[in-house]
Symmetry: C2
Subunit: 70 residues, 2 copies
């Protein structure tokens, strides 16, 4: 199987937590050693498993911020 290497470079915050202990988090993650990107994703306790999510560049986060602050 293919492998994805990642490192959570900065844990920014938790958006919510489910009854089963999965947390939806905002982090900065380096994928395969590349420049870290923002990432909104669900995680099992202790980051043992990752769920679905989106990765956002600095530019995308800037636009998102503007849209949310309107």
């Amino acid at each position: 199987m293919a492998e994805i290497k990642y490192e959570i470079v900065e844990h920014i915050g938790v958006l919510s937590e489910s009854a089963k202990g999965w947390k939806k988090e905002l982090n900065r993650i380096s994928w395969n050693g590349n420049t870290p990107k923002y990432d909104i994703r669900e995680w099992a306790p202790n980051h043992e498993k990752m769920g679905k999510g989106v990765t956002l560049s600095d530019d995308e986060v800037r636009v998102l911020k503007e849209l949310l602050n309107k």
Copy 2:
């Protein structure tokens, strides 16, 4: 095959566009007729196909906004 019904209730904005014309968008989407939720997701031109993304409740968006504005 199972079917998911959705309606884009509010198109809030476009975060970015790829070379192939897919756009990463922030929308409010009603899934299966339920109360609309915020949604960050990639879409093919004319919303013909949806890509991966995350759905966010009002509460999650409130926290996200606070974290981004820090």
